[in-house]
């Protein structure tokens, strides 16, 4: 079939599993450029492609700085989601808010679009022998916009604030069971040690841009961020107006060197369509994130370019393992077998998504094991499983949220399930009603026998492996309880080496294919749209947008 969107720059072209694994290893820094080129050619990848990948992905890169070739001193106009409330690094939990934080603030560690960590305000980090203590070395010569030097006391205070249950911290759920308040030690002005609750192989991700609340603030931050906007980043606040927009100006004292644009202007939008129209009408240079639905016109517009990042954004379709009708794993597997995943991806995302294999291991994760075979639509097998389980079909209600493509996906599931006699009724609610009190017994999300939940991108699969699937997981809507799984995940989380992680991943993936507590049908790409001629715009799938090298041409 003809590629309907010839204009998209692929960060990673879709290749076979072996090729993707190789690319993954290269991205993850497991093999060097030379090894990559050698093994790639052995696999039969063409030289132009190999060179393109090796050039696009710079394993030594630090910040997402393409060579600053654009014109200096321009103003970059960005369409941004509307921040949901007050901008406060401690409480922010929405895309619009985190985008604002990240314009002025910076993290200890930068989680690059290729999911590999790079230094930001920390220059180095290392674990002790078992991964239970991590020591970070801070960058010297970093100043806050208010003038003070950033030192260890600011870092300690910032992370303490986020880990403290008294502080309404949105990062509390991230640090729970990982880092407790009082366990952060200032060793000297530029060295900080984190004493973890348990060994953790991926801990630096928790202090990286992955944890969007963790921008480093001055130690004496008083909760009045909207007054100060004090950070260390390449841009300083110029003006912020709730519900309208914000503008920032270049920080001449930025530690990272020259900031290319003179100003950036963010306009807040309550939906995608006006942003698309504003971009087409020349009122915007960049839309921080677009979804395929409603942006079909942009994808084929020759005046626009789409920056496409492979990501782990997905939907979890949980089936409760503890009560009928899904308490038999054969029934769960049968349902998963009815989905024509490639058609779903084509229909909902115009192909801009990865296939899911009913585990949180999105293909983008270097730790994912691609040797586990992909689940495909197989009605015969599904019917056989239903028969074996003694089920001739049943009615069941799929509860989900009124959000993006989710109602459409639910309709597709409904039609697919009909093929094996499962009569799916849909209950689509506003997200707030779906999540309810977000506690067992008081939430459609956690209580419904059959539900669909939205999950954003994560830099590492750890949280996705634990919270929704382990026996005591706080988001375990599937009520999945499997000691073998819990053990494997604990092993995975504590593991530091990628090879070993991938080995354990294979066993986790196999186990989840058999049990199928949750259907993961797709992981869709993070898309950013820019006007042609706008260069140096660097988004991440976490929802950040780095503009220090941007130029509006």
């Amino acid at each position: 079939m003809r590629n309907p969107f010839p204009l998209i720059d692929p960060v990673r072209r879709r290749q076979g599993p072996r090729e993707n694994q190789l690319i993954g290893e290269f991205i993850a820094g497991q093999i060097g450029r030379r090894g990559f080129l050698r093994r790639g050619s052995a696999l039969g990848l063409g030289w132009p492609l190999l060179a393109a990948i090796a050039g696009a992905i710079d394993p030594l890169g630090t910040l997402p700085a393409r060579a600053a070739t654009g014109k200096a001193g321009t103003t970059i106009r960005v369409g941004s989601p509307m921040p949901a409330g007050a901008i406060d690094p401690v409480t922010v939990g929405d895309a619009g808010g985190l985008l604002m934080l990240q314009q002025v603030g910076e993290f200890l560690v930068f989680d690059q679009p290729n999911l590999r960590l790079a230094p930001m305000l920390a220059t180095a980090w290392k674990p002790n022998h078992d991964g239970s203590v991590w020591t970070f070395t801070l960058r010297k010569g970093v100043t806050f916009h208010s003038g003070g030097m950033m030192t260890a006391k600011d870092v300690v205070a910032t992370i303490e604030r986020l880990a403290d249950p008294r502080n309404a911290s949105n990062a509390l759920s991230v640090f729970k069971g990982v880092l407790s308040p009082g366990n952060i030690e200032k060793i000297d002005d530029y060295t900080v040690a984190f004493h973890l609750d348990a060994p953790h192989g991926n801990f630096p991700y928790y202090l990286s841009s992955d944890n969007y609340n963790a921008i480093i603030l001055p130690a004496d931050y008083k909760g009045d961020f909207e007054k100060t906007w004090d950070g260390t980043g390449p841009f300083q606040i110029e003006k912020y107006t709730s519900k309208v927009g914000a503008s920032f100006i270049a920080n001449a004292n930025w530690w990272g060197g020259r900031v290319l644009p003179a100003r950036t202007e963010f306009s807040f939008f309550a939906g995608q369509q006006p942003q698309v129209l504003a971009l087409e009408g020349g009122d915007l240079d960049v839309i921080s994130q677009i979804v395929v639905q409603g942006a079909e016109g942009l994808l084929t517009d020759r005046r626009m370019s789409i920056i496409r990042l492979e990501a782990a954004i997905h939907r979890q379709v949980h089936m409760r393992c503890d009560i009928p009708p899904f308490n038999d794993q054969r029934v769960r597997r049968a349902l998963a077998l009815t989905l024509d995943r490639p058609a779903i991806i084509q229909g909902l995302f115009r192909g801009l998504a990865d296939l899911g294999n009913d585990s949180p291991f999105a293909p983008v994760y270097p730790s994912a094991n691609r040797d586990v075979p992909q689940r495909r639509k197989n009605i015969a097998e599904a019917k056989a499983l239903m028969q074996a389980a003694g089920s001739r079909g049943f009615p069941v209600t799929l509860t989900t949220e009124h959000l993006l493509e989710m109602p459409d996906y639910a309709v597709l599931i409904q039609n697919a399930a009909r093929e094996i006699g499962i009569d799916v009724r849909l209950k689509v609610e506003p997200p707030a009603a779906y999540y309810g009190s977000a506690a067992f017994g008081k939430s459609d999300w956690l209580d419904s026998p059959f539900g669909m939940t939205d999950y954003g991108h994560r830099g590492v699969p750890d949280v996705l492996l634990t919270a929704p699937l382990t026996t005591h997981g706080t988001w375990n809507a599937a009520h999945f309880r499997n000691p073998e799984y819990d053990r494997l995940v604990a092993e995975f989380v504590a593991e530091v080496a990628l090879d070993s992680q991938r080995r354990i991943a294979a066993r986790i993936e196999q186990l989840l294919l058999t049990e199928t507590p949750i259907i993961f049908a797709y992981f869709y790409d993070y898309l950013t749209a820019t006007r042609k001629g706008v260069t140096g715009v660097a988004p991440t799938a976490n929802g950040e947008l780095y503009l220090q090298s941007a130029s509006a041409g």
Partner: protein, 289 residues
């Protein structure tokens, strides 16, 4: 609008029924309205059996296909046939809107009748409550209530019914006050009839005309309101082919040039409200003449 209805109400009802009915049938507006509403009523009853495609069958690989011989109105984002969905989509709205109108008319007429006849403190309190309700944007009230109670057809019916009740009450109250001034009520009072008896036996039959007109007018607004609520996401949920829902679902893609995903549903909604309104107007004219 209420003024004219009041005017219609105070016209002495002497003209014999048959001529009025003939008048109604001869009115072009009535015929057109009846034809439109009748068409959609038939579609609601039998549509799903007559349409060329299953309105619910998805085909993601043929999504957003423009109108063609196979798909007269094209296909939507999930590859469903829009013609079949537009025809089948009249069912929800034609169930919810009339029921809501019925509820609003009954409750409203009772309140208006009581307020107008009893007067005094009851009438005063009623008047204040109506004033509070009328000073609120109704759509906002409806949305807040749906957020609070959750959206379902039953909530929508009760909600629209209750929102309409004070409006109906206001019209009926005015009509009742017009009647009370007339001699026959005073005569009945002199004969020692109880207030309640006067209310139901004397006044009610004489305000039925305005009540009927008001009910038809309200039906038009009920269709308006139900469609708007489903557009805002408080109506029938997916995969219903409901028009408001279909427009909301596909609104996002029209900038890409996929006009057929919303145009036919919009036209269907417009035709239904116009049809109902033509009926209401014709009825009003017939009763006023």
């Amino acid at each position: 609008m209420s003024r004219e209805v009041i005017a219609a109400g105070v016209v002495p009802e002497e003209a014999p029924q048959p001529s009025r009915w003939r008048l109604l049938r001869r009115s072009g507006g009535f015929r057109a309205g009846a034809a439109i509403v009748g068409f959609w009523a038939l579609a609601a009853l039998f549509g799903p059996m007559l349409v060329p495609w299953n309105p619910f069958a998805t085909d993601p690989l043929h999504a957003l296909a423009p109108p063609s011989a196979a798909h007269w109105f094209g296909t939507d984002q999930l590859g469903r046939d829009i013609f079949s969905r537009v025809i089948a989509g009249s069912r929800d709205i034609l169930t919810i809107a009339p029921l809501a109108t019925l509820l609003g008319t009954i409750v409203g007429s009772a309140l208006g009748l009581a307020g107008g006849t009893l007067g005094g403190a009851f009438d005063f309190v009623l008047g204040r409550i109506i004033e509070v309700l009328v000073s609120l944007p109704l759509i906002v009230v409806a949305l807040l209530a749906l957020v609070a109670f959750g959206a379902s057809p039953a909530t929508t019916i009760v909600l629209i019914g209750l929102v309409f009740a004070p409006l109906v009450a206001r019209t009926v109250r005015a009509a009742v006050l017009g009647e009370i001034a007339l001699d026959y009520v005073a005569a009945a009072e002199l004969c020692g009839e109880s207030r309640l008896a006067i209310m139901f036996v004397e006044i009610l039959p004489n305000v039925l005309g305005p009540v009927l007109v008001e009910a038809t007018v309200r039906l038009g607004y009920a269709v308006f309101a139900v469609a708007s609520l489903s557009f805002l996401g408080f109506g029938p949920g997916p995969p219903s082919p409901d028009w408001g829902l279909a427009i909301a679902e596909n609104y996002g893609v029209i900038a890409g040039g996929y006009w057929w995903t919303v145009s036919f549903d919009a036209a269907a909604t417009a035709s239904l409200v116009v049809g109902v309104n033509l009926l209401a107007e014709a009825l009003h004219q017939a009763l006023a003449s």
